[in-house]
């Protein structure tokens, strides 16, 4: 077989360059998607919150949970993930609007995702998790806990109800909840 050492080294070199080029193209695509198209990771600005006083004071007290339209018109949905339920276990969000989901845990590690969307984050006790998203389709979707949090983990599933904007009617405090409808 006529494979001399020079042609061996040459073919290796060509392959190496080609593979480094493949890696470089992937890298550029990922960075472009992450920076230019905002196809990135959740919770860029690191925010801490005390898990032990979550229910006593601050934005995650029970009356502040669920979806709320702020005075500036911004829509924020806050949930608390606990062993073994979401509070609240159903949230309403409008279609085609920017929604900010904020989550925190008073006890152990949890995670959440909304099925059929790219909403996905870990919820780490000590930190606030934040995801921005826009829901394109109306309907009800599951929002399960996707990280092992104890023996009751499998029961920990909430619902997200996406409604057309005209059906998204905040009360005087700017709140919208599943119970209203």
């Amino acid at each position: 077989m006529a494979v001399d050492e020079i042609s061996t080294v040459r073919s290796e070199r060509i392959w190496t360059y080609a593979m480094v080029a493949v890696a470089a193209v992937m890298l550029v695509a990922i960075v472009h998607a992450g920076i230019a198209q905002h196809f990135g990771t959740p919770s860029n600005s690191i925010e801490t919150v005390d898990p032990n006083t979550l229910h006593l004071a601050g934005e995650f007290v029970s009356e502040n949970l669920g979806t709320r339209v702020g005075l500036d018109g911004k829509i924020t949905t806050r949930v608390v993930t606990t062993q073994f339920a979401f509070a609240p276990d159903c949230v309403v969000v409008p279609q085609h609007m920017q929604v900010t989901l904020r989550a925190a845990s008073p006890d152990v590690l949890h995670g959440l995702m909304i099925m059929g969307t790219n909403v996905n984050t870990m919820v780490v006790p000590g930190y606030v998790s934040q995801v921005h998203t826009v829901f394109d389709k109306t309907g009800e979707m599951l929002m399960p806990c996707h990280e092992f949090c104890g023996l009751g983990h499998s029961q920990m599933v909430a619902r997200v109800r996406v409604v057309p904007l005209e059906d998204f009617q905040p009360d005087e405090q700017g709140r919208v909840s599943c119970a209203d409808r």
Binding site: M1, G116, P144, F148
Partner: protein, 543 residues
């Protein structure tokens, strides 16, 4: 003549015994999650089983196999007896005692925290101490590999360390670096909490430390498979290794690129900024390179063999390969699964795209395909290759070995392709049972049953594998003349190897620099922002 055969057999049989038990647990777990009614189904049993399955496969199968194989390579590649064999037994006994502690604590429900721990959930301290003993046992192995290579170099000045040993030592070096993260997590945070010395833990810090270990550990598992690709498959195919230098560069790249990338497991976490996640994503892209180089070198080596065998034309050499030899067949099947597993891995590491699949069955499918598929099938092939050496007997039936390998590969595809699909559709992980009456979930049922069938195929294949190995010990065959283990030699044995490719000092300096750049701030950050700690949740007592 090797002298450490009993040491090698003790290690590898421990590995495969754990594997044999864990795979049955895996099948039962799939049955519980499927729409079919399974016996003993309860959340408690399920999570005990998942913890046992993960710990046995990820820690016991891998560590003991790699140690046993390392001892074998040290003697057969260096052609000298293993130094300090007694210490090897000491490491083995430490590992066995640790394994017994882990098994006892997990099966009694005192350690249902998965093999990835998840603080602030906290098990009995004896579970973690058992794991620490396994790791310390493996450090003994690392030291013995380093000593064996150093001694050989001293007695063979100017000669290239045989590739199989060079790669094994690379793995020992990699493992020493890798275990720093988990050792720090367990010794500094988790074990003090488990003993009740601290009431609360910094969860972000524990996750960061574990991520240090979490990616490199898979390269620790994978390197034996790559050693077989480079040094055993070309030999079994009747050819030569295309390039010894390229092989060394690939192993060095695994050492360099496998470590500073663990933060890609935390893309969806709130305790790190997008910037550091992106830096480690960029380093992660680089780990594709050594695998792609391996694909080239190993394919070229096999092509050499196929052409020597009379293969003609662009692809005629593929048909001319001796596929009836288990090592060649396993390499082909492993490469096939590596394409799927590698593709899945590229999706996982793609930063924002990770949100689509994080903590879904896609990830479970990915690591079953790439570890259970590509890597473990090579563990089987390595066992088939070295068992005649260890026992002095020839195999009773190569056809049974081939059937076992085929069943494993097909079973792994049937198991994991439905998981990939369901994960993409949003099936989440680590759940003991799904509510199939929910219309959003009901359509999963046939996919779950399909993948359960794949699991059953894997259990049958595992039983065949263990049966195939046992036949060596039954002395069914007359003892053939023992031919020494022969590793593939390079097509063009290099005239003189640069000393950098014959040692690890330079590469250790690079690893240190890379790890300092990748991990100093993510770890120190915990002490700068000093996040509120989370109260320890004991899983082995009522709260």
């Amino acid at each position: 003549m090797p002298t450490a055969n009993r040491l090698v057999l003790a290690h590898i049989w421990t590995a495969f015994a754990a594997f044999g038990v864990a795979i049955v647990l895996g099948l039962w777990q799939m049955w519980v999650r499927s729409p079919l009614a399974a016996p003993l189904s309860s959340a408690e049993n399920y999570f005990i089983s998942v913890t046992a399955h993960g710990s046995a496969m990820a820690y016991v199968l891998t560590t003991f196999f790699i140690m046993g194989f390392g001892y074998f390579v040290a003697e057969s590649a260096l052609k000298t007896p293993l130094p300090y064999r007694g210490l090897g037994w000491f490491g083995f006994i430490l590992g066995i005692l640790g394994t017994v502690l882990v098994v006892a604590t997990v099966l009694t429900g005192k350690a249902t925290v998965m093999f990835t721990f998840y603080p602030p959930l906290t098990a009995t301290p004896w579970f973690y101490l058992g794991l620490v003993m396994v790791v310390v046992g493996s450090w003994v192995w690392c030291a013995l590999m380093l000593v064996a290579m150093a001694r050989w170099k001293k007695t063979h000045p100017g000669q290239a360390v045989p590739l199989a040993m060079y790669a094994t030592t690379a793995n020992a070096v990699l493992w020493l670096w890798t275990t720093i993260g988990v050792a720090a997590e367990l010794l500094l945070v988790v074990i003090p909490a488990a003993f009740g010395w601290t009431r609360a833990v910094d969860v972000g810090l524990t996750r960061t430390l574990f991520s240090w270990t979490l990616h490199a550990i898979v390269y620790f598992w994978l390197i034996p498979a790559y050693i077989a690709f480079y040094t055993m498959a070309p030999q079994a195919a009747g050819g030569r290794l295309f390039s010894d230098t390229m092989a060394r560069i690939s192993f060095i790249l695994f050492l360099l690129c496998g470590l500073p990338v663990g933060l890609h497991h935390l893309f969806m976490d709130p305790e790190h900024s997008s910037g550091f996640k992106m830096v480690q994503m960029m380093l992660t892209v680089l780990v594709a390179v050594p695998t792609l180089l391996t694909v080239f070198t190993v394919t070229a080596s096999l092509e050499t063999a196929g052409r020597l065998n009379g293969g003609r034309g662009l692809l005629g050499w593929v048909a001319a390969l001796p596929w009836k030899r288990p090592m060649v067949l396993a390499t082909g099947l492993s490469f096939f699964m590596l394409w799927f597993g590698g593709f899945g891995g590229l999706i996982n590491m793609s930063y924002g795209m990770n949100a689509m699949v994080h903590n879904t069955s896609w990830v479970t499918a990915h690591f079953h395909m790439i570890f259970g598929g590509s890597v473990v099938i090579m563990y089987f092939a390595i066992a088939y290759e070295i068992w005649p050496q260890l026992t002095g007997r020839s195999p009773t039936s190569l056809a049974l070995q081939r059937a076992q390998l085929w069943l494993w590969a097909v079973g792994m595809m049937v198991l994991s392709l439905p998981w990939h699909w369901l994960g993409l559709q949003g099936q989440w992980r680590r759940v003991a049972h799904f509510d199939y009456s929910d219309p959003a979930i009901a359509w999963w049922a046939p996919w779950m049953i399909a993948s359960l069938i794949g699991g059953a195929m894997l259990v049958v294949s595992a039983a065949m594998f263990i049966g195939n190995l046992i036949t060596f010990h039954l002395k069914l065959q007359a003892a053939p003349p023992v031919r020494p283990m022969h590793y593939a030699v390079a097509l063009h044995p290099g005239a003189r190897l640069p000393s950098a490719l014959n040692g690890f000092t330079l590469w250790n300096v690079f690893v240190l620099i890379l790890m300092a750049a990748a991990y100093t701030y993510p770890i120190v950050q915990s002490f700068i922002i000093n996040p509120p700690h989370a109260v320890v949740h004991r899983v082995d007592r009522a709260q």
